[in-house]
Amino acid sequence: MTEIGAFFAMGGYAGFVWSAYGIAAAVLGGLSVYSWRRYRDSIVTVERLQQDLGRRR
Amino acid sequence: MTRKQQRLGLLALGMAALGGATVLVLSAFNDNLVFFYSPSELKATAVAADRRVRIGGLVEANSLSRGADARSFSFRITDGADDVAVLYQGLLPDLFREGQGAVAEGKLRPDGIFAASSVLAKHDENYMPREVVDALKKSGHWQEGGAAGMAQKK
């Protein structure tokens, strides 16, 4: 087996090892993306509201 | 006493009461919280003949033998002080080997042999690469498996 093949095979435990890393990446990455999007939205909302308030005065 | 101190005192009292209650509950259910009995515990407690129990310990060295059909196994589980003969038909986990921990679930037959319906492997807290093990064995500092850890446990 080639070296790269051996790396992906994980000594015959590829399914378990890669699933574990995949789940960790999906959950923590998903939470990061969600948190960041909501953060961006909150900034946009505050800016819009401040502009609205400024225009009305 | 300010309101703040009052709240702090109430919190401390609540946490203390909660801690005490937890200790009481845990000690009351102590027997139900163990996942398995060691062979000596199994012999010390009178277990009803048809009750399913789990026994755990180390698979005794040189005790594993395979049946003719390659799916039936017999081995002995030991805790250093006592040991139990186990019969099992099925697949063994990858980590199952002599000198390593295992937990068998099944019934103790009247003849003192444990008929297992499932066998799980238990590993110890040691992690190291192959080369380190070889080096330790060469220098004579090697202790087989988690023998010490498993035997010390009660």
Binding site: I23, Q50 | L26, S118
Partner: protein
């Protein structure tokens, strides 16, 4: 000290600087940690390559416990001293802790199947970590259950404090009772029982997870403070406060209108 930290304006100023810095450090540390875990670290003499699952499983477990402790301490500060930032911090941290706990449970299951021979057992360690996961879910549900956020916050804070008894149970379950899970390898009396070639990537991954937690915590706290500010601006403008996304006020048939 607490008073100094509990100033929302000061938090916004400091975290604005800290977030980018921490983010890039977290990315760098996690990249090094992943490379080390998957490529450099040797296979275990008993468990072969499945030992690589340890490098996410164990740091996730440490985070699951320490984030819960963080939530509980912040809840206590919120209950006793009524500091405005403490409750924001506890609420922001809980979902991160729940995510780490889920990762710990899922990766543990994927490790247990090939090595122990089972996805799951009801031993004291596994069961107490599952309870921790439900405590997180209960906290999140309770914190968001009321239209009046301060009421939900107080109930959730009490739950967080009650759940603290679970932390020593998780930590010492492997010593107090016979479990299928092995005893502690790193934080134990007498030093770690892991070879340095495996301990190094484990600690790097743990540092990476801690940095990730710090970044997510700050970002989520900033979000909460922004949303709070948006609410205040709406009230200021005389508009009806718009409900937070996904949390429409429920008017049931038996709501008593005074």
């Amino acid at each position: 000290m607490i008073n100094w930290l509990a100033n929302p304006a000061r938090f916004m100023r400091l975290s604005a600087k800290a977030v980018p810095w921490c983010s890039w450090t977290a990315v760098l540390v996690l990249a090094v940690g992943l490379f080390w875990s998957l490529m450099v670290a040797p296979p275990d003499y008993q468990q072969g390559d499945t030992v690589r699952i340890m490098y996410v499983h164990v740091p996730a477990a440490w985070m699951a416990l320490s984030v819960y402790l963080f939530v509980a301490v912040a809840s206590a500060v919120a209950l006793v001293w009524r500091h405005p930032l403490a409750e924001v911090a506890a609420r922001a941290a809980a979902p991160i802790g729940a995510a780490f706990t889920f990762v710990c449970l899922a990766t543990g299951s994927l490790w247990g199947r090939p090595m122990w021979g089972t996805w799951w057992v009801w031993d004291a360690r596994l069961t107490s970590v599952l309870i921790l996961f439900f405590l997180y879910l209960g906290y999140i549900a309770l914190a968001n259950a009321f239209d009046d956020p301060s009421r939900g916050g107080r109930a959730a804070a009490v739950l967080a404090l009650v759940g603290v008894v679970n932390l020593p149970i998780i930590k010492f379950s492997v010593d107090w009772w016979n479990t299928l899970h092995q005893p502690a390898s790193v934080m134990r009396i007498g030093g770690p029982r892991i070879d340095i070639s495996m301990l190094a990537p484990l600690l790097i991954m743990a540092l990476g997870f801690t940095l990730l937690f710090a970044v997510l915590l700050m970002v989520r706290m900033r979000t909460a403070l922004n949303e709070r500010r948006a609410m205040a601006l709406r009230l200021n403008a005389g508009a009806i406060p718009a409900p937070r996304p996904g949390r429409e006020p429920v008017v049931s048939a038996n709501t008593v209108v005074p």
